[in-house]
């Protein structure tokens, strides 16, 4: 009996009228990931296959894609553990398609830029982690790997193209928690918008899909609490000037 798995891979080249799926056979080893399969297919079967990848260990966020309909990082998705003889691979949703499995991350990063979250954080904030007592504030990277998986999984992003989206809202909440020179009132103003934190329908799909435990939905809930607090404080501070 063959251990071969059939990969049905989304194909599209610019200028094509429609996309389709091509089938490729791949024999996975015990460690083979979907990314290993796709790069092997590109090497031995079809060099024209386009996909994004970089780090191979869930730190860079470039290989976000849909495998059997679910958003994952291909580099940490084990082929045998999927347990299906056929594996369907599609690009992320809610982002402009470039070709095959590649989407344009421009709109995603434009939203992240808007909230100006620094890449390196000043606090540890990892539960249970030891901190070096000789270094008062060890620097570390933010957990968000900017993969776009939360946007692809979000039902609101599918219907509201102007929605700021889970990643940028989570980043806005990080700026609120730890400003690091960021303009907190400006960022909270971006979030306090019909296409901001209030647009979320609390489906929690983003937190479910996030490969890096960022919990965007939890951050959106925290943002809402602080935005409500901000409104109350504004009301209480200006009872006369507001005078209706």
């Amino acid at each position: 009996m063959s251990d071969s798995v059939t990969f049905r891979v989304h194909r599209f080249k610019q200028g094509d009228a429609a996309s389709h799926h091509d089938s490729f056979e791949f024999e996975p080893g015990p460690r083979s990931t979907v990314l290993d399969a796709l790069t092997a297919i590109r090497r031995t079967q079809d060099p024209t296959l386009t996909l994004r990848h970089s780090c191979f260990h869930a730190s860079c966020g470039t290989c976000g894609m849909k495998v059997n309909g679910r958003e994952v990082l291909a580099c940490v998705t084990n082929v045998r553990e999927l347990g299906t003889g056929e594996v369907t691979v599609d690009p992320l949703d809610n982002a402009p398609l470039v070709s095959d499995l590649v989407v344009d991350m421009g709109p995603f990063f434009a939203r992240l830029n808007a909230v100006e979250r620094p890449l390196v954080r000043e606090s540890e904030l990892v539960p249970g982690a030891h901190t070096a007592s000789g270094i008062p504030q060890p620097l570390r990277y933010e957990d968000c790997i900017e993969c776009g998986i939360c946007i692809s999984a979000c039902p609101i992003a599918a219907t509201d193209p102007e929605y700021l989206g889970p990643a940028a809202l989570a980043a806005a909440d990080r700026v609120r928690e730890e400003p690091r020179g960021g303009d907190v009132p400006f960022v909270l103003g971006l979030a306090d918008d019909p296409h901001g934190a209030w647009r979320c329908h609390v489906a929690f799909e983003c937190s479910e899909a996030c490969p890096s435990n960022v919990d965007p939905a939890g951050h959106i809930m925290q943002l809402r609490r602080s935005l409500i607090g901000r409104r109350w404080r504004a009301l209480l501070a200006q009872p006369v000037e507001a005078g209706r």
């Binding site: 090497r43 970089s54 730190s59 390196v120 070096a132 900017e146």
Partner: protein, 394 residues
């Protein structure tokens, strides 16, 4: 039509979208040249994105390769200035576990002094206070200015800054042949895999920045570049076991480093040699070696949850007789193929490492400007880089 458009600056085509290619694109546009960079896949999809993210202090090379050590400490200090916000600036430790390590430590400390790398001895208690997860049986440690960076996002800042100054960056464009006339390279041909359409780009000079793929690229121009693709296995564990970079106080060996990265800890690495940089594999015995050796530095390596194991190919220059790659220098080399092979208009940059990518680019740009008769100084030493996000969204 402006005067500028009627007498355009020389056009350089860079083949290879790794850190070296990105840094070179920025260096050349800052000197006023026109630049097009083509990469067969996504930017940083080769070796660049796959390494552990160590910003070398140079201490790793200080004892055996002083040239690389000096390169590293210079770039270490310089990159912190031009790429603020890209580094976890928590320093590094070289940790001695046995008497052999401590004997190496004496040589290491002296070599750091000789190469200008700030270093200080820590007692076991001091080291454990800094990093509580260290092997409690350690005999001593040396603190050096190692740091960590995101292997993809730091290079993206070169790409973003180059694009903002007019460089054309084309991912998914695979070069399949060179335009060669009278032993002079005049451009590249290939296919844009986004559209399936073929392209031909004319160039005054073509640079091969293919890393471990440099030999394959050079072969298209009919010249030989002695690259030995030398992969290493890396292991990512869930949980942040340290904040500083933790190195074994020993000559380079398997599993001699633990690098924190976001909420992960990376254990690296091994070294062997392959023919095809596209076909590395992840040898199981190497993965087990990462656990065994990594646990000697930080015992929790054994129990931390597995995230992934993968391989990355170093682009080492040198003899094809090399067996493990460890005997090859980690410094870089720029080949002008006119001197080497009688082919004009073609330069290869290879070897080196992520920490020295900017310096590699500077050296290469000096060679290129000399060949093209462009008199302009390097400006990447003091040009502060745009954030990585600007690569995707201007």
């Amino acid at each position: 039509m402006s005067l500028e458009n009627r007498s355009p600056a020389p056009h350089v085509v860079i083949v290879g979208g790794g850190g070296t290619g990105g840094a070179l694109a920025l260096d050349l546009v800052l000197r006023g040249l026109r630049v097009t960079l083509v990469e067969r896949g996504e930017i940083t999809s080769g070796t660049t994105g796959r390494h552990h993210g160590l910003l070398h202090s140079g201490a790793r090379y200080a004892v055996n390769d002083a040239e690389s050590a000096v390169e590293c400490i210079e770039e270490n200090q310089l990159l912190r200035r031009v790429a603020p916000g890209s580094f976890e600036e928590n320093d590094g430790l070289f940790v001695g576990i046995d008497d052999e390590d401590m004997a190496y430590g004496e040589k290491l400390f002296a070599a750091c002094g000789a190469t200008g790398i700030p270093a200080r001895w820590l007692s076991p208690a001091e080291a454990l206070r800094l990093e509580p997860n260290l092997n409690p049986a350690l005999k001593g440690a040396i603190q050096v200015p190692d740091a960590t960076f995101d292997a993809m996002r730091l290079p993206l800042r070169w790409f973003a800054s180059a694009k903002a100054r007019g460089a054309v960056i084309e991912p998914f464009c695979e070069v399949t042949s060179f335009v060669v006339r009278d032993r002079c390279v005049a451009g590249v041909r290939g296919r844009d895999h986004r559209s399936g359409k073929d392209f031909e780009i004319g160039a005054d000079l073509v640079v091969n920045a293919g890393g471990p793929w440099a030999e394959k690229i050079a072969a298209m121009a009919g010249v030989d570049v002695p690259i030995q693709p030398s992969p290493g296995v890396l292991l990512a564990l869930r949980g942040r076991l340290c904040n500083m970079v933790v190195n074994r106080m020993h000559k380079s060996g398997d599993g001699d480093i633990v690098v924190p990265q976001r909420a992960l800890s990376i254990v690296g690495t091994s070294s062997w040699v392959v023919e095809d940089p596209d076909d590395l594999g992840v040898p199981e015995d190497h993965v087990q070696k990462m656990y065994q050796e990594g646990a000697k530095l930080i015992p929790a390596v054994m129990s931390a949850p597995f995230r992934q194991a993968w391989s990355a190919a170093r682009p080492l220059i040198g003899s094809r007789e090399a067996s493990t790659g460890r005997e090859l220098s980690r410094t870089f080399k720029c080949f002008d193929h006119l001197e080497q092979d009688g082919v004009e208009g073609f330069v290869t940059i290879s070897g080196g490492k992520a920490t020295t990518a900017r310096a590699m680019a500077e050296t290469t740009a000096n060679v290129i400007c000399g060949k093209l008769g462009v008199d302009a100084p390097c400006r990447t030493r003091d040009t502060v880089l745009l954030p990585h996000t600007a690569h995707y969204a201007a």
